[in-house]
């Protein structure tokens, strides 16, 4: 069972004021998407970040006090918590809202990498369009949005990749199989960063590193996401039938501009989950994984080796190759997408060692390094020049006339998995084979009859009988299509729910 999605928190600023109010700016940006007034629909009942996958519930998160402080400070504002969040569910099944003072776009659930990449790029377009509308109100091109993970002053924000996982896989198996892979995944998925920093402490300009997030990884495991960030987040919030599924919520990843990097990041992670499910992940347990994340990130020459518990010393590419070889043995021939991934994974690891220049336009950290080194030669400046930090930031600007990556893409130097037509389609509709598309269909067809929504449920208004469409175990693509057909053709939600219920009864 493959199902994945990406949540991206964007950086937001304005160039017409010395200091912005991030609460207001993020809220106004999200609301600029709306044609009509905001209606509160998101149901937060399914969200509980205190449940830990290791089998316990924490009494508090490190961020709770800070959140309380912000809530006290924000209490004077003339809008409620729900107004501030401005949670929207879009006609493509995505969620767009203000999360922790960052506009966040969560893709609908996807089953294929092509769909996922199209929906990840759709997020950029939807935010750009919202910024353009907001700029009209402001009277100039003032709002800037960045798909990155740091402000270079010790504040990081996330790009989380999520995977549906069978609950039957013991959590310790996930940890053992995933941690070495995630520590080394940055050679493929790192977005590149000029300089080093740490959580809410000083920034040191200077040498280039692979990853934006590595500086902020402070624990191997943990339920926190804003402080003491872990390599493997243990939040147990399945957004599905809790008895059958987990949602693996990974916070270590960088936000990628390169479509190829996004596809390989999520695709190879999915292959590793397939290996873990089969009990076939390689044994690469790291002696000091948190230190290793930073050491590997800070060596763009990829020569650094890290120690395993068994005494071996391996480079990031060596670790990735161990996973690739296991995946090649176990998963080859399963389907077309798996075979594509295996080919590209192998080719990428090989090119990282022998001809990195061929990965420009495919991997962000390689592409950014190439751009910056070209600029350094032209301008005769060194890595410690603050101009390079600004160029790093602008690599991630999502305005097509400003962003450096988007400039490169416009010149045809970036590898594309999706097309502009596919992105336009993904703005209108979600994937037809996942509950994400079904959620979007309900928003399109019955917008006035939706009382509340969350990832696994839609509650419709009216009547005494249950008006819920429960999607907590709706993952079979054929079943999704059958349900979508009913909602596409029914005259009302109650008619659709009755038909869907009748169909399920007959199936039993």
């Amino acid at each position: 069972m493959r199902l994945f999605g990406i949540e991206t928190e964007y950086g937001i600023t304005r160039d017409d004021v010395p200091e912005i109010d991030p609460v207001v700016e993020s809220m106004e940006l999200v609301r600029a998407h709306l044609e009509a007034s905001f209606e509160r629909r998101w149901d937060y009942a399914g969200e509980d970040p205190h449940e830990d996958a290791r089998g316990f519930r924490v009494s508090g998160l490190q961020q709770d006090r800070e959140e309380d402080d912000f809530a006290t400070r924000d209490a004077h504002r003339p809008f409620s918590f729900h107004d501030m969040k401005s949670d929207l569910v879009l006609p493509n099944g995505a969620r767009f809202y203000n999360d922790h003072t960052h506009p966040e776009y969560s893709t609908p659930e996807c089953r294929t990498l092509k769909d996922l990449v199209a929906h990840d790029r759709t997020g950029e377009r939807i935010l750009l369009r919202a910024a353009q509308r907001r700029n009209k109100v402001l009277g100039g091109e003032h709002v800037r949005l960045y798909k990155n993970n740091t402000d270079f002053h010790g504040h990081s924000y996330g790009c989380h990749d999520n995977y549906l996982v069978a609950r039957s896989i013991p959590f310790p198996n996930l940890v053992a199989g995933l941690v070495p892979f995630l520590v080394s995944r940055q050679v493929i998925a790192g977005a590149g960063k000029v300089g080093t920093e740490a959580q809410e402490s000083g920034y040191v300009p200077g040498p280039y590193q692979l990853s934006q997030r590595a500086d902020f990884m402070e624990a191997e495991l943990g339920v926190d996401t804003m402080h003491n960030r872990p390599i493997l987040n243990t939040r147990d919030e399945p957004h599905a039938d809790r008895m059958k599924y987990r949602r693996l919520h990974l916070i270590i990843g960088d936000a990628n501009m390169c479509e190829y990097a996004t596809a390989l990041k999520v695709g190879t992670t999915q292959l590793v989950l397939d290996l873990i499910e089969r009990g076939a992940a390689p044994d690469c347990e790291l002696d000091q994984p948190v230190t290793a994340v930073k050491q590997l990130s800070r060596d763009p020459d990829l020569k650094t080796v890290v120690k395993l518990v068994n005494g071996q010393k391996l480079s990031a590419v060596d670790i990735q190759e161990s996973y690739y070889e296991a995946a090649s043995r176990m998963l080859s021939g399963i389907d077309e997408e798996t075979d594509w991934l295996l080919r590209e994974w192998s080719e990428t690891l090989s090119l990282l060692s022998r001809d990195r220049s061929r990965l420009v336009g495919k991997l962000d950290w390689v592409t950014k390094q190439w751009l910056l080194e070209s600029f350094m030669r032209e301008e005769r400046i060194g890595w410690d020049d603050p101009w390079l930090t600004s160029l790093d930031l602008e690599y991630h600007n999502i305005h097509p006339d400003q962003g450096l990556y988007l400039g490169l893409e416009a010149e045809g130097k970036a590898w594309r998995m999706t097309t502009d037509e596919a992105i336009e389609e993904a703005i209108r509709n979600g994937p037809t084979d996942t509950r994400g598309g079904l959620r979007g269909l309900c928003v399109q067809r019955f917008p006035g009859q939706i009382k509340s929504m969350q990832w696994e449920r839609i509650q419709f208004t009216g009547g005494i009988r249950s008006r819920n469409l429960d999607m907590g175990d709706l993952f079979d693509p054929q079943e999704v299509r059958r349900c979508a057909h009913i909602f596409q053709t029914a005259g009302s939600p109650s008619e659709a729910l009755a038909a869907w219920s009748h169909r399920k009864d007959r199936a039993i």
């Binding site: 290791r54 990081s156 050491q295 650094t304």
Partner: protein
């Protein structure tokens, strides 16, 4: 659900900065060999970036 028996691991202090590779290890490709970005477009765009842009850029911590 029973609490998992996974032990908490604490890491000792280690300098996370990598050491430079020894000369005999060769070193990776430090410079890309694809030439420079298109000078008329991309370099122009890069030169337009305000060197102080990142210094002014401040966000609140997110997830």
């Amino acid at each position: 659900m029973k609490p998992s028996t996974m032990p908490e691991r604490r890491e000792g202090p280690v300098d996370p900065m990598p050491q430079s590779p020894r000369p005999e290890e060769g070193g990776g490709p430090r410079r890309q060999e694809t030439g420079s970005p298109e000078k008329d477009n991309l370099m122009k765009r890069m030169r337009k970036v305000d060197p102080k842009q990142a210094e002014r850029y401040r966000q609140r911590t997110g997830e």
